[in-house]
């Protein structure tokens, strides 16, 4: 036995040169792969630098500090043509984040409704939801955006025949005009009051849960919370003597002047992305709920839970574990699809960056900014969702 083993190993050292050693092989191939990657990156960047230098194109990010000279129609942060290119790109980024944030929320809500609707026992509701999913899932997002944009523009009246809405609002094909709130002195206290309301609600919630664990008594946390979060700011507002006035939109020569406006481009992009992504989210929700075995709800009924309680306390928490990971991908998709807004003239990141690129000729730099920014947004979303997923994950006991 020992003899045999020695013979085998000596045979190995004789015959098998390093060439056949799996360890050596794997290290060699790893080094080779790394070398190829490094070489490729180096050769690409070297060529870019050489070609730029040969074409006498200035490179570097210094251009971001230059005066942009162009205006942007929809900016959430103060911006004018005297601002810098960097600022213009920032305006685009803020608009992208706005679309992503509002879109994700709306898409999730619609997706939940449609997804649960597909599981409904009501034939009509279930079929309608199926039709919705099949229609929106099978159309390219760009077409959905065009559909909403031309739909919005065709449906709404021209500026001079604006529809009058209550509380001084107007609607026309230039957007939704509404009175712009002008806060007076001391108004900063109102958001502070709101924050305090939220914090107290959180503590009340914790206390209520502890008490329920201890005594079994339930506390109306929701109503208390609403009273705190809404009531505190309202009280502060009244105590300050209502420091609020409005700038109402008025009919100007071309359109309405004054007030605030939500541009139709934003509405079209927001609706299109929400409705499009909702179709995918609906399927994820349906899969998640279907993924919870029937025995779970049967067991909860057996314990005497109401159907709504069974859904809320037993089925949904388990379904969430299946839902969250694919939901993250959909959130990322929605964020990335917001770049299609460039086609309808919504000034998001790709739009303002593209204009900057064209005015300065710094294609490589602008594209690198795009890549880094989208990557950062996506990674941040992923991290947030992973954290949420870890919280919801099944704790094995």
């Amino acid at each position: 036995m020992t003899d045999h083993a020695i013979r085998v190993s000596s045979q190995k050292t004789e015959k098998a040169s390093l060439l056949y050693d799996p360890k050596v092989r794997s290290i060699f191939f790893q080094i080779l792969t790394a070398a190829i990657v490094v070489l490729a990156v180096w050769s690409i960047s070297h060529n870019v630098a050489t070609n730029l230098a040969r074409a006498n194109i200035a490179s570097g990010y210094g251009f971001l500090a230059g005066r942009s000279g162009f205006d942007i129609g929809f900016a959430l942060i103060p911006y004018s043509s005297d601002g810098t290119y960097g600022r213009a790109i920032l305006v685009g980024l803020v608009n992208t984040l706005l679309i992503a944030f509002t879109g994700v929320i709306t898409a999730t809500i619609i997706g939940f409704i449609i997804g649960i609707g597909r599981l409904s026992k009501n034939w009509l509701i279930a079929k309608l939801c199926t039709v919705y999913v099949e229609v929106f899932r099978n159309i390219p997002p760009l077409l959905v955006i065009f559909f909403w944009y031309s739909g919005v523009l065709a449906f709404l009246p021209v500026a001079r025949e604006s529809w009058k809405l209550p509380i001084g609002m107007f609607l026309n094909n230039r957007g939704l005009f509404f009175p712009k709130p002008l806060w007076g002195e001391g108004a900063e206290a109102i958001p502070v009051a709101l924050l305090i309301g939220v914090i107290i609600t959180v503590f009340v919630g914790r206390w209520a849960k502890k008490r329920q664990m201890r005594t079994g008594q339930q506390f109306h946390t929701i109503w208390t919370g609403i009273a705190l979060i809404v009531g505190l700011p309202v009280l502060t507002f009244l105590a300050l003597g209502a420091p609020l006035s409005f700038d109402f939109p008025n009919a100007g020569r071309f359109s309405l002047s004054g007030g605030s406006v939500i541009a139709p481009e934003f509405v079209a992009l927001y609706l299109a992305l929400s409705f499009y992504t909702a179709a995918f989210i609906a399927e994820i929700i349906r899969a998640g709920i279907r993924g919870v075995s029937k025995g779970q709800s049967e067991a909860s009924f057996a314990l005497g839970l109401q159907p709504s309680q069974a859904t809320r306390l037993v089925v949904v928490p388990q379904a969430m574990r299946i839902i969250i990971p694919p939901l993250t991908s959909q959130y990322l998709n929605l964020t990335k699809n917001s770049s299609l807004g460039v086609a309808i003239g919504f000034p998001e990141l790709v739009s303002t960056g593209g204009t900057t690129m064209n005015q300065t000729g710094q294609a490589v730099e602008v594209i690198s900014i795009w890549l880094v920014v989208y990557l950062a947004i996506s990674i941040a979303t992923s991290l947030l969702m992973n954290w949420f997923n870890a919280r919801m994950a099944l704790v094995e006991r």
Partner: protein, 342 residues
């Protein structure tokens, strides 16, 4: 294993060389080697560059591409067209995707220097204007305060617009699109009150609207827009050919040489004309330029002189009905002037 290493190294080397040749400094040799001129044009601007019903590109700028092909190959058909948007055009030229850009592109110092291009010949002297629906009853651009303005992104137009409204203390809302068709659609849908671009462009765009007569072009011209072909910096030989193709068309008009009479003119006794058409003995004008001595003859034979190209594509007998104006010959009060071919 050695084989693997070798092939990997070869692959990487091929890759880096492949990238390096993307924008060569000798465009003429490249063009001759591939057998055609790759010309960057507009995606579709009536009269300037637009494919007809059978897919052939036609227009004022397209004829310029053809003139360059005629100078290099003696054959106007040796052109391939790359439609470019206002945003993609510069990258297309910088990267070597196109050999020259003839796309209503304004010559500015920034584009001449920082963007790495060269401009010299101006094939159309233009200026930025405004178009509004007649129903708005606007007589001057100074009445446009508060208007929503449709504009194409990444153009000098966009910058002039901001400057003009700022200088005159007027408010406006820009509505910016990347593609011309998108701007048209938005203007037509009433998303904006005003359409602004170069005046030549406005004339052309007005035609594509459903009711051209319902729209009026305002009298103000708010900028200088010298439009001309652009090439990459650092390739003087190719730059010379591209610019002199334009000058040749202007010179031909000045001499009265047309597409119809160019063969006849070869027998002219005028030494200037003979030198121009390459029939003078021992002439080296064409070969010094890097093409054949018949280059000017080929251009005129292929597309005609400047006046003919203008009239055929955008002049009085076309739907655009653009006056020569600034684009008349210098001898007729315009700015079209060619240095001597000598």
């Amino acid at each position: 294993m050695k084989k693997t290493l070798l092939s990997a190294a070869l692959g990487a080397a091929a890759m880096s060389f492949g990238f390096a040749s993307a924008a060569s400094a000798d465009t003429l040799s490249d063009v001759k080697a591939k057998g055609f001129v790759q010309c960057g044009v507009n995606t579709g601007l009536a009269g300037f560059a637009q494919p007809d019903s059978s897919g052939n590109w036609k227009g004022f700028d397209v004829d310029y591409c053809k003139a360059v092909a005629a100078a290099v190959f003696g054959d106007v058909s040796k052109v391939k067209y790359t439609p470019t948007t206002a945003q993609s055009r510069f990258t297309a030229l910088q990267s070597g995707e196109v050999d020259l850009l003839v796309r209503n592109t304004t010559w500015t110092i920034n584009r001449d220097t920082a963007l790495g291009f060269n401009f010299r010949y101006v094939n159309y002297y233009d200026g930025q204007g405004f178009m509004v629906p007649k129903s708005l009853n606007v007589k001057s651009a100074l009445e446009l305060s508060g208007a929503a303005v449709c504009v194409q992104s990444g153009t000098t137009t966009e910058l002039n617009l901001a400057d003009y409204f700022k200088a005159n203390k007027l408010e406006y809302k820009p509505v910016v699109f990347e593609k011309l068709e998108e701007v048209n659609a938005a203007y037509q849908a009433g998303r904006c009150d005003v359409y602004t671009t170069d005046q030549s462009g406005l004339y052309s765009l007005r035609l594509s609207l459903s009711n051209p007569a319902d729209h009026v072009i305002l009298p103000e011209i708010i900028s200088k827009e010298p439009l001309g072909p652009a090439v990459r910096q650092g390739d003087d030989k190719w730059f010379d050919i591209v610019t002199w193709a334009g000058y040749a068309m202007v010179q031909a008009e000045e001499f009265g040489i047309t597409q119809a009479n160019v063969d006849e003119m070869k027998n002219s006794t005028n030494p200037d004309v003979r030198r121009f058409l390459g029939v003078e003995k021992d002439t080296k004008i064409g070969t010094d330029l890097g093409v054949t001595n018949e280059w000017a003859y080929n251009i005129v034979k292929g597309v005609g002189n400047y006046g003919e190209v203008f009239e055929r594509n955008i002049g009085q007998n076309t739907p655009l009905k653009i006056q020569r104006g600034l684009n008349a010959l210098w001898s007729k009060g315009g700015l079209q002037y060619a240095p001597p071919v000598r």
